[in-house]
Symmetry: C2
Subunit: 475 residues, 2 copies
């Protein structure tokens, strides 16, 4: 049995998280610094995410493809802002077997360049558009910042969508649709509320015209970017010469988008829902949604085990674990499955059996109640549904309570360490930059789609404001 987490979430958040993910057997550190091993529990979460999101992606007519891992240096360099953004963290292959390579090959940090070099062969006329592709893949970004499992690792898993359109309008609409699907993946599957918006120019993706993002706040008061969807405009189509003959017989450059969702989402979900007893998983992503623990006394031992076996079969669709080991105390088992985040525990002892009942315990609230065995199927289903909803509601309340609108820097300063602070901004990057410099770790998250109507003055320079923008300490 693993021992409990020795740090408290509310006191030492980072230490709590690091202990949790190891003790809940979500990850293991690898011999390559900054790269983690996804153990079955966390990989199963990723599988739930990929299934949910892949379905949405395919419903939009996007087709999955696979492009090579390695990108020749000359390709990576074709779009100047893009290479500038990524080159400090590229891992380079320079040798193979006993040979030196003629040209360095980048392990993909993202695949715009290798994909678009080929897209130009596939696109001739407006009939070839839109071109809608996606790939599920690993990427490497050799960051030198301190790594945080799931949130910032040198290798991570993701999907990267790459879509091509005849017009800017279609491109923007599609980018927003994908952002909507990302928001649904967080909200409906991971029970994590997010704030949709547009990145400021200085925070957008290297090579993009517009970056849309979803952002959220973690329990330690730090915000995090949850996913992004970019309108690349014609920046790459001009660099890679991707043109098409339009209906009017004129040759035009295409408009392109890219959009990505990563294993970072697993870390965000864990941080938001889990507690000092361990992992708390939304039922929709829990590999095993139920654990059944027979309470074994001398009396009626075989009958109790027999009944829990039937129960296991009955609840098969929740992929239950039946832990009927006789040499481990029930209390230790309780702690173990609480650590691992199983949404529902069912206890069944000889006295329960006499009364044709079992005890159901919710992982999220700890609430215990006796239920009739004839009714248990329905109650498990209902309870799983309630847990999923409750986790979202709690997280939404936390987020709503921690987004504050202020109109002066004094108030900004008072709140910026723990909240998302929304302020009016003139749109001048200098005001944004001065905030970044003054408050370590603070940056503009996004310009939320939901804007209050009334606008007055920039909270920094007092010139006329053009938006509200969200700032926070951020990962």
């Amino acid at each position: 049995m693993p021992e409990g987490i020795r740090a408290k979430k509310e006191e030492n958040f980072s230490e709590w998280y690091i202990q949790l993910i190891e003790k809940a057997e979500l990850i293991e550190y690898s011999p390559v610094s900054g790269c983690i091993i996804l153990r079955p529990t966390s990989y199963a979460i990723w599988e739930s995410i990929t299934q949910f999101l892949d379905k949405k992606i395919k419903e939009k007519g996007v087709q999955n493809v696979y492009f090579p891992l390695l990108i020749p240096e000359n390709l990576l360099k074709k779009e100047s802002k893009h290479v500038e953004g990524f080159s400090p963290e590229v891992a380079w292959v320079t040798e193979a077997g006993d040979s030196k390579l003629n040209e360095r090959l980048a392990i993909r940090p993202t695949s715009e360049t290798i994909m678009y070099d080929t897209f130009k062969k596939w696109i001739r006329s407006y009939r070839d558009l839109p071109l809608l592709t996606n790939q599920w893949a690993n990427v490497v970004r050799w960051e030198f910042k301190h790594s945080i499992p799931f949130l910032r690792t040198r290798e991570f898993l993701w999907q990267e969508g790459h879509t091509v359109f005849a017009t800017q309008k279609e491109s923007e609409e599609h980018a927003l649709e994908m952002l909507e699907d990302y928001a649904k993946t967080y909200e409906e599957l991971l029970a994590v509320p997010v704030i949709k918006g547009t990145k400021t120019d200085s925070e957008k993706f290297a090579g993009a015209d517009i970056t849309y993002s979803i952002e959220t706040l973690l329990p330690n008061g730090k915000a995090i970017q949850a996913a992004t969807s970019h309108c690349l405009g014609q920046n790459f189509s001009k660099a890679f010469d991707i043109k098409f003959i339009d209906k009017d017989e004129k040759t035009k450059y295409v408009y392109q988008n890219s959009w990505g969702f990563t294993t970072r989402s697993i870390g965000i979900m864990i941080m938001i829902h889990s507690d000092n007893k361990g992992l708390v998983l939304p039922p929709k992503v829990a590999m095993n949604k139920v654990v059944i623990i027979p309470i074994l006394m001398e009396k009626d031992k075989e009958r109790v085990i027999g009944r829990t076996k039937i129960l296991k079969k009955q609840l098969e669709k929740y992929n239950p674990i039946l832990d009927d080991r006789d040499d481990i105390k029930p209390g230790n088992k309780f702690n173990n499955y609480e650590m691992k985040g199983l949404p529902i525990r069912i206890e069944l002892g000889p006295r329960d059996l006499e009364k044709n009942q079992a005890v159901i315990v919710r992982r999220d609230t700890g609430e215990k109640r006796s239920v009739n065995l004839d009714d248990i199927d329905r109650i498990v289903e209902k309870t799983l549904d309630e847990i999923q909803k409750n986790l979202y509601i709690k997280a939404k309340e936390f987020l709503d309570n921690n987004v504050i609108i202020v109109d002066n820097e004094k108030e900004f300063e008072k709140n910026i360490n723990k909240k998302i602070v929304q302020v009016q901004w003139c749109g001048n990057p200098e005001c944004e930059e001065s905030i970044k410099k003054k408050y370590a770790g603070v940056k503009a998250l996004n310009i939320p789609f939901e804007q209050k109507k009334e606008l007055k003055n920039c909270f920094k320079c007092s010139k006329k404001a053009i938006y509200y923008v969200n700032f926070a300490k951020s990962y």
Copy 2:
């Protein structure tokens, strides 16, 4: 419209294949030599395979995990035969951003070393066994031989299973079970018959005690290894110090297996079933199983299109394509979808509509027949089933007709260029080696599980034979 394949399968097999996979839009060449791009049609085939096989893997209690792409050089070197086998084709990362790395990192050619370094932390006692893991991943093997799309590329996709047992017996049983699942994936899904057997010592995996394989014969008379399942014995557990305390309280080294199934399977399937008109896909792996083509005349055009729209909806579960473009001739459409391998074509023109019928055309046999529209659902289902079976039967006949048992070298020589030749063998590697040297490209495929009872003399040295072994020209 793509033009047809200019080479004939029976005359110039390689050229036929190369033209086919490009014209059917399965692949595109990438700017990195030896790496291909999987376009939607081929990636969808891979998705069918992963779904089919992943289900079988999970049914056996194996859990999916993800280990890092990059392996430090010192780990890769820990098992001496393993590193000897793989080091000539390892791609090395030596730089990241502007920094030189202290130690070279290998892009995984396979993950034994990085996984087993961690397995030792997870295994303490017999209670932790068996440990059953699998990962779906990309690997890089920088081969310097001529690359052949799908069959031999420098990067490919696969699953690699890594399982750990207390006893040799369990390890061998499990290795055989996985081989059985691989055979089923080929036979039931890809409609490709295979020959199960054991690799000779000189052909087994670098670091294995036993390699089980499935092998098949391609239409050009060359054999190919379709998948392998290895008993690694205690070779890696000794190199990585993976021990457990057994029930008898003694400390023992574990027994390990690894087993892999790759995107090579897509190439094998294409080569076996396809013809001079293009791709032929077994219905179970075809992304779109049906194409509906309205035959558009002036008369009743709208009614015909309307009826095909209803038909599309009716056949939704086969993910049909409705091609009602008015500016392309039906004949061109027929060629196009034949090239792309869709199992069934449905034609519907004004005269068909009058008779409440449609024409169904099978891609595998070209057979055409009129069927009543009220009955079409059932007939499509039945026909898809027949196509799947027919492709397997045809392939099985070809394989059965091209495995020949001979008992002397003269007969061996006569058949070895076009067939799998089964001979009696004394087990001495020298006899095997002398064959490899004398006949370019020929090697021992495997020692088939199905052995004829009667054994006499080695076909090479005339000493007492101990098995029948399959030889062939091989990829």
